[in-house]
Symmetry: C3
Subunit: 137 residues, 3 copies
């Protein structure tokens, strides 16, 4: 049994948002009780992550860490056509995840209490993002 | 055909342990011969990785690399409620993998000779960890 | 419905190559119209990534970023049996992905316009690499 849906999000520039409920809604509509779900962002400058859903400082600190690992406007970059955040955004996607596969049980995502699924925008400005959710069970 | 099991591990603080045989045991019990298996840790401060299973120095060196990328007790972190290793552990999870999907062939994980699946504890102290294994084929 | 194939590639040393068409060929031969495909490299010093397929400078800059995050020949490494690139290659694999799961729609990979799937060689010299592709739908 396979169900596939496209979700659309408008981001507010760099930062992450919890899309766990959006993914769960697709699973619910699929009728799959036990299986897996794949979540895949269709871009190279936005990504996905599973991280803590309680204290927003965790995601703030992740911005600090990732800004160090792939700084904006690094003079070593050759790819800078779309601005200082362009290449940094691509690197941040490779360091996190463009696609996540997670277990489904009892007709919903099987995650730990403190886990959420986040869409992570890496560009500075507002973007329109597509995310494909596929449920198999 | 879908089989899902929860595995439980008690870790000894920061470090990684080979759980390849534990995952293989779930696959064997599922009866799936060809397909995929998803392994998903239900926490935000422990993760999974596939890396070399021969020389333990590889995993020691990975600790060195990850300690640099996300240092413990960095004064820039705001999230430090549970100690110096708290935020570093979350960042190390995002840099590695909370969930892995791997091929199944001949009723077991299809991996290269030198590949193992490791549960990676990022907190300093002993923790109880749950890992969900889902086999589809 | 499950189809599994092994692909083989000879790399030219460190660098990445677009294998999107190779993965798509397996999907086409599987007859799966809607589902997911798992791509898994069977080594610990080559990895996979999804990134921009248009400007090759993106992948050049990713080499710059990853060389900083896991430098070759770092004196802190203990694992250096096969040379300066040995441990760096293992670390680069953990920071990117050994395995990717992506959606299939209309009998092919469902990716964004600018996304490609790349096999990323992290060793300095030419290697023979196996990649397992599993299609489920």
């Amino acid at each position: 049994m396979v169900t596939q849906r496209q979700l659309e999000f408008t981001t507010d520039g760099r930062g992450s948002r919890d899309i766990t409920d959006d993914v769960d809604a697709v699973i619910r509509s699929s009728g799959v009780v036990c299986g897996i779900t794949n979540v895949c962002v269709q871009h190279t400058s936005a990504s996905l992550m599973v991280t803590e859903n309680a204290d927003p400082d965790v995601r703030r600190d992740l911005e600090t860490v990732f800004t160090r690992l792939a700084p904006d406007g690094d003079p070593a970059y050759r790819h800078d056509l779309e601005g200082d955040d362009d290449m940094a955004a691509h690197a941040r996607c490779v360091l996190s995840d463009v696609s996540l596969t997670l277990p489904v049980a009892d007709g919903r995502l099987l995650l730990g209490t403190w886990q959420g699924v986040f869409l992570w925008e890496h560009r500075s400005h507002r973007q329109h993002r597509r995310v494909v959710v596929t449920v198999i069970g």
